[in-house]
């Protein structure tokens, strides 16, 4: 970790504790194998096994306040915990429940909702997926048209959500829905829905790699109790905005990317046919990666969240996605014909996908990184608004 020598005594001790924990708990059965993951969507069996090991210390929900079941870690310690896990190849934990639903329930939920939903995430009972994008509403999230009609004490939902990661593993879905037939922001509401409610159908979507990560979810007259509203009727946009900020800013990818880069170089050292241009490009990518690691730390985690200006999470999102793609592109410099059909062991989302080298599958699947989580064009739009305010 680039700024390790400047940590204070408490943070340095915590880092030592994390490393000792990883030494003893992150064994070969759990760590990502030498082949890279085919994408950033986690492998479920490994994720569950790893959460079991984290659970006694509540480190799977490390940054959650203690009163909500977390370990109450401060910004820097949470960063160190996530960075080191990524660095050492611990399974990537899905952010959907821990980083998206948990915080919005803490911020907007009623006491009853907090008492039910938060423990269910902490103890692994609930697995959430995200119902935001629709076929007609991608970047323009405010235009969603899936409708939740109020009938007495319940809503009846019709429409569909798309690009829903892990809907096939989830037992719950959170949705941004239209509750009034007008185009204003207070026509939107945030509803929490059971995936096994009658009328919910999940259809898998296969990417160009054949991998199944995303889905389309259809709602046909799905009935949801009104108390499943989060943030009140018409409060959906505020909840969604809060969640999107968490989505962009909470990721710690620096360690994971550094590991991926090192695995790539280790593989290259074992071959005799590597062009010199690969090493020259690797030198450039190494520095870009260091610059990203430093940016992620100093812009994302060094200052308290509320002291950040709005645009820092967006800078970070662009940073890790574009740096990750540069590492993938570096990997392409090593590609051989065998990569196009190699039936190497693949993880998680790769099951059922077209046989190909994990590096190649990673390159194809990670083209999505600059599209999901708010496309990098939208990220630039948001950064521009921040820049205009700052330079005014």
């Amino acid at each position: 970790m680039l700024f390790e020598a400047a940590l204070d005594a408490a943070d340095r001790a915590f880092l030592a504790e994390v490393r000792a924990f990883l030494d003893s708990e992150l064994d070969a059965s759990i760590v990502e194998p030498e082949d890279a993951l085919r994408s950033q969507v986690c492998d479920h069996p490994r994720q569950e096994a790893w959460i079991e090991r984290l659970r006694p210390r509540r480190w799977h929900v490390g940054f959650w306040p203690v009163e909500h079941g977390g370990a109450g870690l401060g910004q820097i310690q949470n960063y160190l915990l996530l960075y080191e896990q990524g660095r050492r190849g611990a399974p990537l934990l899905s952010p959907l429940s821990i980083t998206y639903v948990g915080p919005v329930v803490m911020q907007f939920g009623t006491p009853a909702q907090q008492q039910t939903l938060l423990p269910a995430i902490v103890d692994g009972h609930d697995h959430w997926c995200q119902g935001f994008s629709e076929p007609g509403s991608g970047s323009d999230l405010g235009s969603v048209s899936t409708f939740a009609e109020r009938r007495g004490d319940r809503y009846v939902i019709n429409g569909s959500k798309i690009w829903t990661t892990d809907a096939h593993h989830a037992n719950k879905i959170f949705c941004l829905l239209r509750t009034r037939r007008e185009q204003s922001k207070d026509a939107l509401s945030f509803l929490l829905i059971d995936m096994d409610a009658p009328g919910v159908t999940v259809r898998p979507i296969r990417l160009m790699t054949g991998d199944h990560e995303f889905n389309q979810v259809f709602f046909d007259d799905v009935e949801v109790p009104a108390e499943n509203l989060l943030g009140g009727e018409g409060g959906g946009w505020a909840v969604a905005k809060y969640l999107l900020e968490m989505e962009r800013g909470a990721f710690v990818f620096g360690g994971r990317l550094r590991r991926r880069f090192e695995l790539l170089l280790a593989g290259a050292r074992e071959r005799e046919d590597v062009p010199r241009a690969f090493w020259e490009e690797a030198a450039r990518v190494d520095i870009e990666l260091m610059a990203y690691e430093a940016t992620e730390f100093r812009l994302g985690h060094l200052r308290a969240r509320d002291a950040q200006t709005a645009a820092e999470p967006n800078v970070i999102k662009i940073g890790w996605t574009e740096t990750m793609q540069r590492i993938d592109e570096l990997a392409l410099m090593l590609a051989r014909t065998e990569w196009l059909y190699a039936d190497e062991p693949t993880l998680g989302a790769g099951k059922g996908g077209l046989p190909m080298s994990s590096w190649l599958a990673g390159y194809f699947n990670n083209r999505a990184a600059t599209i999901y989580g708010g496309s990098n064009e939208i990220q630039r739009e948001l950064i521009f608004r921040g820049l205009r305010r700052e330079l005014a």
Partner: protein
């Protein structure tokens, strides 16, 4: 050492930013560049009075004993001035370098004059053989040789000459720039900096003028210089983003301000992202100099210089582009900024050489055969 900037750093940055805001503008820079000296002696004196020259020196030498991160932040804050006052070269290759030499009465006296702003020094140590030759002469030496592209050699009143004895050992001597046998030919650079070709013919160097300087110390000074060049480029990048935003906001075409076109907004954002990238890498380099000085931080300094060169060029090129034709003229500071950024990628060691060094230090290379 902590993650947060020290109070000294914050105070120095504040005073530098104020000076840039209140006293540096392109029109006055152009007239200084056109003057006989090519820089402002009055400004240099002011830097000395503000204690800026004391930043890289140990307290025992009358300095402030501050980490390289502080000098880096100071130079970055002055970046928008893109000045011809020779601060990076003097801080690293004069003050810091002399401070690393063993203390002798002669060295101390020269350093004190430098610290007071009364003297400028230039390091004359050509890399290419045969370099400067030092022939022994009864405890003294006679220096012969030639060096091109010596930074600050035209402005300097004193030279630090790095020569080789017959046995190959490196020796350093203080030589008055106007001494018998020393000729200088000005090589004023396109970005306004002072360079000179220096010729030494039968120059007498007394034993008392000898400096004891290790190769490690000399290398550390060169690394310090590279750090400061990267720092200046970072300051220029910040200025270019502001300047370009300002231009886009006031220039109108097709009935609208340029800043209302989304593509141009995004290109401005990309300039900002490059600046963040360079700043991040510079922070890493600053951090790695905290404990062991610039020598210990050299690989990260090389990475930071490479990043500043790459990002700086992209930012400056884009600034010219977004200014349109006027960005090409010498009337606007934008072109001067581009020249300075390109120069900073060359004169402290080429950015591509620094890339190789960083890669070598970090093991990014094929397995040895």
């Amino acid at each position: 050492m902590t993650l947060m900037p020290s109070p000294e750093r914050v105070a120095l940055v504040d005073s530098a930013e104020r000076m840039v805001r209140e006293r540096y503008d392109y029109a006055s820079l152009r007239s200084v560049l056109a003057s006989a000296d090519g820089y402002s002696r009055a400004r240099w004196q002011e830097f000395a009075e503000l204690g800026w020259l004391a930043v890289p020196l140990a307290e025992a030498d009358g300095g402030l004993g501050l980490a390289p991160a502080v000098a880096s932040a100071l130079v970055a804050a002055l970046g928008p001035a893109a000045m011809s006052e020779p601060l990076p070269g003097q801080l690293a290759l004069a003050g810091y370098l002399l401070g690393q030499a063993r203390a002798t009465p002669r060295r101390d006296a020269v350093l004190a004059r430098w610290l007071a702003g009364e003297s400028l020094l230039a390091l004359v140590e050509p890399a290419a053989p045969p370099g400067i030759v030092a022939a022994p002469a009864h405890g003294d030496a006679v220096l012969d040789g030639h060096a091109d592209a010596v930074l600050d050699a035209g402005l300097a009143d004193m030279l630090i000459v790095g020569a080789r004895q017959a046995d190959g050992a490196a020796v350093y001597y203080l030589v008055d720039a106007c001494a018998e046998g020393v000729t200088r030919r000005a090589q004023r650079a396109a970005d306004g900096r002072d360079f000179a070709a220096v010729e030494l013919r039968g120059v007498c160097a007394a034993g008392s003028e000898r400096l004891e300087l290790t190769a490690a110390a000399r290398d550390a000074a060169q690394a310090y210089f590279a750090l400061l060049l990267a720092s200046e480029s970072l300051g220029i990048m910040h200025a270019l983003v502001r300047l370009t935003a300002g231009h886009l906001a006031q220039r109108e075409q097709f009935g609208r301000r340029l800043i209302d076109f989304q593509e141009l907004q995004h290109r401005l954002v990309d300039m900002q992202l490059e600046t963040v990238r360079a700043e991040s890498m510079l922070e890493v380099a600053r951090h790695h100099c905290d404990d062991g000085g610039p020598g210990a931080g050299a690989p990260m300094i090389s990475a930071a210089l490479y990043q500043a060169a790459r990002s700086g060029r992209r930012v400056a090129e884009e600034a010219v582009q977004l200014h349109g034709a006027i960005g090409m003229t010498e009337e606007l500071v934008v072109g001067h900024y581009l020249k300075r950024i390109i120069a900073n990628a060359i004169i402290g060691g080429h950015a591509e050489t620094h890339l190789e060094r960083a890669a070598g230090a970090r093991g990014i290379s094929p397995p040895s055969l």
